[in-house]
């Protein structure tokens, strides 16, 4: 079905070099196509493998609108659609749990963790030709993972996961995980769920807003005689990146060199087990230790469309409507790291994020006010031209600019347009 027919003039007219049409944030018809072309059209993040650490552990997630069970079977992590093959009932009605069998409460059809149909009640009613192997749980057709980050795709993806992420994104994910003595982070410290009345595309990766949206944080620091946050000042040494494929990052590596990382290191050294932890990290990362530590403190990475790594947490963005979005935060622990270090990670996350945090609610509030403002659509253009004149294009095609610019927004909108006009090489299984 032609999708551009639904939008007069086509999507190319809605995404320009320095501005986008607000309809892409408000129009239910556009949202419906985003679900198909973006969320059910290519790789999306669904869970971290550490969430299903033990056999039988499962969590319920969504690929676009499609509810899936992410479960650890004897064979590994499996992703099945949460739908009985009999009459379509949702098999799991809790967000997480542990079970060796999925038994449909409606008529008792039973599946193992690998999705195999192992039992139906009163089987003689199905006759001698009934073949249970034809009724296994439908699996997500494409599943792959990187450093425990599990991605899935409903449609044939544009490339392998490794290529979809690209080396620059993988390097940042590596730093996030490499600060764990085993190289494994654990998304096992609970979850914060926030919902806001606004579009999913507002979330995160903005380097211009901090001193205004989060002015109260600077005021609190001043109240304690501390300087304002340096990260997002006009003269900050930070940069922002469009890594391609809609992935992007706010990069504070330069700012955090030297005294920032030294302070972080000393705080860790003062913890019980801290000195041993640092020695082990040093032996494993060598002269990349400071950079690894600094990046793991706040990767500020956006993996299009629905994953972000911020501070110590994994952020999962779940669109519920053109004007309704759920943001789920998974603070992460470092496997085999000192308890004090993991406690500090969770405490810091808790203070800032979640619906009662010091930082996140002001973002939600502004996203809601943004959605309200877009109703005044007589002039529909959203200006995202900041920093266009000072971007630098690198040899691999990545684009960087100052951390307060809008290179990240432009990078996301470029990928949005490619996916919505099906120019990303995405092929539907059925040949559309």
């Amino acid at each position: 079905m032609s999708t551009t027919a639904m939008v007069a003039g086509g999507y190319e007219e809605l995404v320009l070099r320095d501005r986008v049409h607000s309809r892409i944030f408000t129009d239910p018809a556009v949202y419906a196509e985003e679900l198909v072309n973006i969320f059910e059209g290519n790789w999306v993040y669904i869970a971290h493998e550490s969430e299903v650490a033990h056999r039988g552990d499962y969590v319920i997630r969504h690929i676009g609108r499609q509810p899936v069970i992410v479960v650890r079977s004897r064979e590994g992590v499996r992703v099945h659609f949460n739908r009985c093959r009999h009459r379509g009932t949702a098999l799991c009605n809790r967000p997480a749990g542990n079970t060796n069998f999925f038994r449909c409460p409606y008529h008792g059809w039973t599946y193992d963790n690998d999705g195999k149909l192992v039992g139906v009640p009163y089987p003689s009613g199905y006759g001698p030709d009934f073949d249970k192997s034809e009724f296994r749980l439908e699996a997500a057709p494409y599943v792959d993972s990187y450093r425990g980050f599990l991605f899935a795709s409903v449609a044939s993806p544009s490339s392998s996961l490794t290529d979809w992420l690209g080396p620059r994104v993988r390097e940042i994910i590596d730093a996030f995980a490499d600060v764990s003595p085993t190289g494994r982070i654990l998304a096992r410290a609970g979850v914060n769920r926030t919902v806001f009345r606004g579009n999913w595309k507002y979330v995160g990766m903005d380097g211009y807003h901090f001193n205004f949206t989060h002015k109260s944080i600077n005021a609190l620091n001043e109240h304690h005689g501390k300087p304002p946050m340096e990260e997002f000042q006009e003269t900050a040494p930070g940069q922002m990146w469009d890594y391609g494929n809609g992935h992007c990052r706010l990069d504070h590596d330069e700012l955090r060199k030297g005294s920032h990382t030294d302070e972080m290191t000393e705080r860790i050294r003062a913890m019980e087990g801290g000195a041993e932890y640092l020695a082990e990290l040093q032996s494993r990362t060598g002269d990349r230790m400071a950079l690894t530590l600094s990046r793991s403190h706040d990767p500020h990475l956006g993996v299009w469309p629905n994953l972000q790594l911020l501070g110590y947490h994994i952020r999962l963005i779940r669109p519920l409507g053109p004007d309704r979005t759920e943001v789920i935060a998974f603070p992460t622990l470092l496997e085999d790291a000192p308890t004090a270090l993991n406690e500090a990670r969770v405490a810091r996350h808790q203070l800032l994020f979640g619906p009662a945090g010091f930082v996140q609610p002001d973002d939600s509030e502004l996203f809601e006010r943004n959605q309200l403002g877009l109703q005044a659509a007589v002039n529909p253009w959203i200006f995202i031209g900041r920093g266009l004149d000072r971007e630098r294009v690198h040899d691999d095609g990545a684009i960087s600019s100052h951390v307060t610019d809008e290179t990240t927004q432009r990078g996301q909108m470029k990928m949005w347009l490619r996916q919505m006009t099906r120019n990303s090489g995405v092929r539907d299984e059925h040949g559309d």
């Binding site: 969430e51 650490a53 967000p95 654990l186 096992r188 410290a189 609970g190 979850v191 914060n192 769920r193 926030t194 919902v195 806001f196 009345r197 949206t213 002015k215 109260s216 944080i217 005021a219 609190l220 109240h223 759920e326 935060a329 603070p331 622990l333 308890t339 993991n342 406690e343 969770v346 405490a347 996350h349 808790q350 203070l351 979640g354 619906p355 009662a356 010091f358 609610p361 002001d362 939600s364 509030e365 502004l366 006010r369």
Partner: protein, 164 residues
């Protein structure tokens, strides 16, 4: 062990119920500085989040010691806290209190709690079980622990920047 010459307990059930009502009143009227005075110097305000894995530590919605609570109040009073601009109107109803008074020990008060919040045309009802651990010092009660188990703690929440 009681004897004929035991003095009356310093704190009565009525004192505790009045204290809970006073706390609710101070929060409803946004008298945050007066509310902070109710807290012991070493105290904890805990609003657990949803259940996570059976491992420590687990993230909460709020888990403040007294110093962090003061920072929270500072932010709540700050004019640039956008999530509280305008501030919500809220009324709290505390009841069904089960109170354990013990001579020389902290007072444990468990109660039910309904909170109605109005902001920008939306009215939201929150419900919780509360647990206050109080001590009596110099003729007044102080909070050592306030734990609020919201019925919505595992659900997506829009804005919990008021004090639940």
């Amino acid at each position: 062990m009681s004897t004929a010459t035991d003095p009356e307990p310093a704190v009565s059930r009525e004192d505790v119920e009045s204290f809970l009502a006073l706390e609710a009143h101070l929060l409803d009227t946004r008298a945050y500085d007066d509310w902070l005075e109710l807290w012991a110097p070493t105290s904890r305000y805990l609003v657990p989040g949803g259940p996570g894995a059976d491992e420590h530590p687990q993230v909460a919605l709020i888990d403040d010691d007294r110093a962090t609570l003061e920072d929270r109040v500072f932010r709540m009073k700050h004019p640039a806290s956008h999530a509280l601009d305008p501030p919500p109107k809220a009324v709290r109803l505390v009841g069904n209190a089960v109170i354990e008074l013990a001579e020389g020990a902290a007072i444990e008060a468990r109660s039910a709690y309904l909170l109605v919040v109005n902001r920008q045309g939306d009215q939201t009802v929150y419900a919780a079980r509360q647990h206050h651990r109080l001590i009596e010092r110099d003729g007044r009660l102080e909070i050592l622990l306030k734990r609020v188990d919201l019925t919505c703690s595992e659900d997506p929440i829009r804005n919990l920047t008021f004090l639940p």
